[in-house]
Amino acid sequence: MAKYIGKRLLYMLISLWLIVTATFFFMRMAPGNPFTSEKQLPPEIEANLNAHYGLDQPWYVQYGEYLLRILKWDFGPSFKYKSQTVNDLISEGFPVSFLLGLEAIFLAVAIGVLLGIIAALKHNKWQDYTAMIVAVLGISVPSFIMASFLQYFLAIKWGIFPVARWEGFMYTVLPALALASTPMAFIARLTRSSMLEVLANDYIKTAKSKGLSSGAITVKHAIRNAMLPVVTYMGPLTASILTGSFVIERIFGLPGLGAHFVTSISNRDYTVIMGVTVFYSILLLVSILLVDIAYGIIDPRIKLAGGKKGE
């Protein structure tokens, strides 16, 4: 197991290096630079700025320096937000996005799996149809419309939750719901189809022939086998939700990380683009590793390569 994880960490470093390199060069290929704006800067000042940020160096020097800095977990200063480093931006925005993301993931998994199981157990009955209508709505209604609906009814009309801002737990509920709606619907559909497949298996009939109740069969025999597709989906979902959503954070006025993804690109804020991308990649790679480890725990047939024990 330790050997396996070590090997995976090595691969992760290689993937990360590829991502950093690709982002670095694509970013430079895009026209414009951090100091392009409507007002033309005098050439001397632009030259000064370039010198200050090291942009006047040849690309291989910049690239090498950047790699060295990343190794030290230093993403450098932001070009646009003067006096703030990228590390500051991430450590300010990430806790907000992280908390919101965790809440959303919890909601999405709990409600999604529950809906999916109910739909599968009551296949082709009204419970199934209801759950699937909810799921289709969740998938097809964009999150910003969902967010506005939630704000309008739950906040403005009925006043249960605050409309926006970030001042306590109550403020997190609506954005988490809005963020969770699409993945929840997706998980519900995934769980349903995977449960239906599992329930048609012979071992479910065996369990029934032992005299187990349908509740016990579902809990002990069906759910675990039906969870693999959901766990697969959890990897990328976790990474994308934890790093925040630009749209949702905008609508609810939250100081999360999502905004930086979008604004940094239009600003050509090189260091922020790089920093946020690297950060996102690390989260993604770690969650994929966790998913793979979870596979091995859920399904004993999946042997994590590396340890040859048992063969």
């Binding site: 065996t206 086998n225 004993p300």
Partner: protein, 355 residues
């Protein structure tokens, strides 16, 4: 001998998009304590549905018991609720399925799958159940059961898994074991081992067995009595000797003739029954086998044959046994095996009118 199971005129149908499929059309048989009854027939003849109905394992809906009774220890199972069935399944009646590769839960330890039965039906604690599960694995001939009990099904071979299935099925010492083609998915040497094991355990536990198969070789090996099913009905039933040495129904003749034997190897072509079984959404008028039957009489296409009794234990549902029917001899390969059985009545007796 004590009767453990009595199935009376059982009718099961399934609602499908194409209409109502009458999978079982009036099946009656009984089973004594410690006896093995084999049900043979080709795919779709209703043998699996019949046996799964005894445990009410068919999905309802679309399945439906449209008539008849299943008396288990004199108690009718048909009207019982799911909750009541849970106390019968696994405890009184249990089942072994065809494919041991898919009938065990891949993500649960084999021991745990045995323990479930013990905890549910024998009120054992986890420790007791684990100890008993290990004993059961040893009983079904799995070496090193202490090690095997914590392993997962994928660490077992096919034969081992079927042994584990038998351990699950016998864990609560059921009175009736239904084995639905338990050896079909195994290779021949393993088949023989599994059959021996089942016979041995049956003697030890005094369990009755319903053995479903389409392999007549297996039937001769394990069964006391045989029921031949065709198109959802039992067409002939008797002791193993009666079915093998004095078959009366043309369908049984066909089955026996299509069995490869050591005597006719090179020259004789292996016989087959022509055609396919009828569509049970609209069962044919008269005898369901008539269209494939080279011995069919005119009346076979008009009226369903009644059941005739040839001996105390031997029944056949064919017009050929009627006093007015012409004398017909079975195919040559079957003729060779026919023996005069002393237990036969002087003349077949009509016991039940067909409808």
């Amino acid at each position: 001998m004590e009767k453990i199971l009595e199935v009376k005129d059982l009718k099961v149908s399934f609602q499908t998009y194409g209409g109502q499929v009458q999978a079982v059309r009036g099946v009656s048989f009984d089973l004594h304590k410690g006896e093995t009854l084999a049900i043979v027939g080709e795919s779709g003849s209703g043998k699996s549905v019949t046996s799964q109905t005894i445990m009410k394992l068919i999905p309802m809906p679309p399945g439906q018991i449209t008539g008849g009774q299943i008396l288990f220890n004199g108690d009718d199972i048909v009207p019982k609720s799911e909750k009541e069935m849970e106390n019968i399944r696994g405890k009184e009646i249990s089942m072994i399925f065809q494919d041991p590769m898919t009938s065990l839960n891949p993500t649960m330890r084999v021991g745990t799958q045995i323990m479930e039965v013990l905890i549910k039906h024998q009120n054992m604690s986890k420790q007791e159940a684990k100890k008993r599960a290990t004993e059961l694995l040893r009983l079904v001939g799995i070496p090193m059961p202490e090690k095997r009990v914590v392993q997962y099904p994928h660490e077992f071979s096919g034969g081992m898994r079927q042994r584990a299935m038998i351990a699950i099925a016998l864990a609560a010492s059921p009175k009736l074991l239904i084995a639905d083609e338990p050896t079909t998915a195994l290779d021949v040497t393993i088949q023989a081992q599994i059959l021996d094991l089942m016979k041995e355990l049956q003697n030890k536990m005094d369990t009755s067995i319903i053995f479903i198969t389409h392999d007549l070789g297996v039937v001769a090996n394990v069964a006391d009595r045989v029921a031949v099913m065709y198109a959802g009905q039992i067409v002939e039933m008797g002791t193993v000797d009666e079915i093998f040495y004095d078959p009366r129904h043309p369908y049984t003749w066909g089955l026996l003739a299509s069995m490869p034997s050591l005597e006719n190897d090179n020259d004789a072509e292996l016989a087959a029954i022509p055609g396919t079984p009828p569509d049970l959404t609209n069962p044919p008028k008269g005898d369901a086998f008539a269209a494939r039957n080279q011995y069919a009489l005119a009346i076979d296409f008009e009226e369903e044959p009644p059941m005739f009794q040839i001996s105390e234990t031997h029944f056949a549902k064919t017009w050929l046994l009627h006093p007015d029917a012409p004398q017909v001899n079975p195919p040559e390969s079957v003729m060779k095996r026919i023996r005069k059985l002393s237990s036969n009545f002087e003349k077949p007796v009509l016991v039940k009118e067909g409808k």
